[in-house]
Amino acid sequence: MERELENLFKKYGRSLISIGEGGEPSPPYRALLRPLRYKNKMYLFGVNTPIGYNSQGHYLYIGPPKPDLSQKGISIGAGGKNYRVDRAEKVHKGDKVLYIWAVLREMTA
């Protein structure tokens, strides 16, 4: 199953890099990155807050066990954009990590 997932990431995944807390980038790797669909239109237009517009755009990430997105301070770069990890979980098969599930959010300056 690990092999199947690896092939799936290679075939359908997007080229990403992970950026550690200190700013060090990883070699490129592939993982699935999809916009999160909402069941209602609550967040479609984002939210205007007193400190600026918050697009509320989140992305579903499914990727290989490495890099470990559950580490503190890690972020993802793809296509000139950076994504913050809002939540990350390791999905195990037995005691082995099968893949990483995460919800990402686009970073703005």
Partner: protein, 280 residues
């Protein structure tokens, strides 16, 4: 009302320039750009919460309150939404609030009447701990500059008396006041023999008269059939021999070359002192 609407922006600008508040970013509330994701710096949104304007009265010597027709008193409540990243903790909210209020109270000339804050709440839309705070400012609309140098544009009397000020028939301008306080000026000079001299008074006089001190107004030389004039006057666009009104003062003439038909202006003769009176 541009002065009131500009106030939050002015406060943002002023607070942003304070070294002691370097770690805090100030913005006017609901800016037309994206919020920082993730929020890394303490960010304070400044807005106008409430404006109260009331009549102004002054107590005279008898203790009677008299109404100031063209003055008003105002209370302005400025909203400060202090956003602190979750990672910094709630204590930073209070630190930021105290620093901002200290700065506004002690480093500006604003009349801070009250300041305060509510409780801290965690806000998912901004990824921040938010402390709602306020400062209440007292402002006197009369005289015009009611605040410190730090807020030059803050609340001048154009705000409330605009229609009066725009009516040139009833409004007294600073130039009017200056003319009333000093309706004419006087001065003197020593003649240097030049055929003409100009004097810059800084304004266009309505009337000017020049005369030589310790000299008769004119002197007749019957042998040469000449009359020398040691005095002259001018008003508006006309003047007697030897005096002209200019845009910023007046001009005098001297010598035979400046005269006509035996009349010679002597308004700049060496060794003679002259005196002038210029009416505004």
């Amino acid at each position: 009302m541009s002065d009131i609407s500009a106030l939050p922006g002015d406060i943002v600008l002023w607070l942003s320039g304070k070294e002691e508040l370097d770690g805090i970013k100030f913005i006017t509330e609901f800016p037309p750009n994206d919020k920082a994701v993730p929020l890394r710096k303490i960010t304070v949104a400044v807005g106008l919460e409430r404006v109260d304007i009331k009549d102004s009265f002054t107590e005279n010597d008898s203790g009677v309150l008299t109404f100031n027709a063209y003055c008003r008193e105002a209370k302005l409540r400025i909203r400060l939404a202090i956003h602190v990243p979750f990672a910094l903790g709630g204590e930073k909210c209070h630190d930021a609030f105290a620093d901002i209020v200290d700065c506004l109270t002690f480093a500006s000339d604003l009349d801070i009447l009250h300041s305060g804050c509510g409780d801290i709440r965690a806000d998912r839309d901004t990824d921040a701990l938010v402390l709602a705070a306020y400062i209440e400012i007292g402002a006197d609309f009369c005289p015009a500059a009611s605040s410190s140098l730090n807020f030059k544009s803050f609340l001048n009397k154009d705000l409330l008396c605009g229609s009066h000020i725009r009516d040139e028939g009833i409004h007294v301008t600073p130039d009017d006041k200056a003319a009333w306080n000093e309706p004419f000026i006087t001065g003197g000079y020593f003649g240097n023999g030049a055929p003409s001299r100009s004097f810059d008074l800084g304004f266009k006089p309505g009337y000017v008269t020049i005369f030589a001190t310790d000299c008769p107004p004119y002197r007749a030389d019957f042998q040469r059939e000449e009359i020398e004039f040691f005095t002259a006057c001018a008003a508006g666009e006309v003047g007697s021999l030897g005096a002209e009104i200019k845009a910023r003062g007046f001009k005098i003439l001297n010598g035979p070359g400046q005269g006509t038909e035996g009349a010679i202006p002597r308004l700049n003769e060496p060794g003679i002192s002259y005196f002038y009176i210029a009416v505004k």
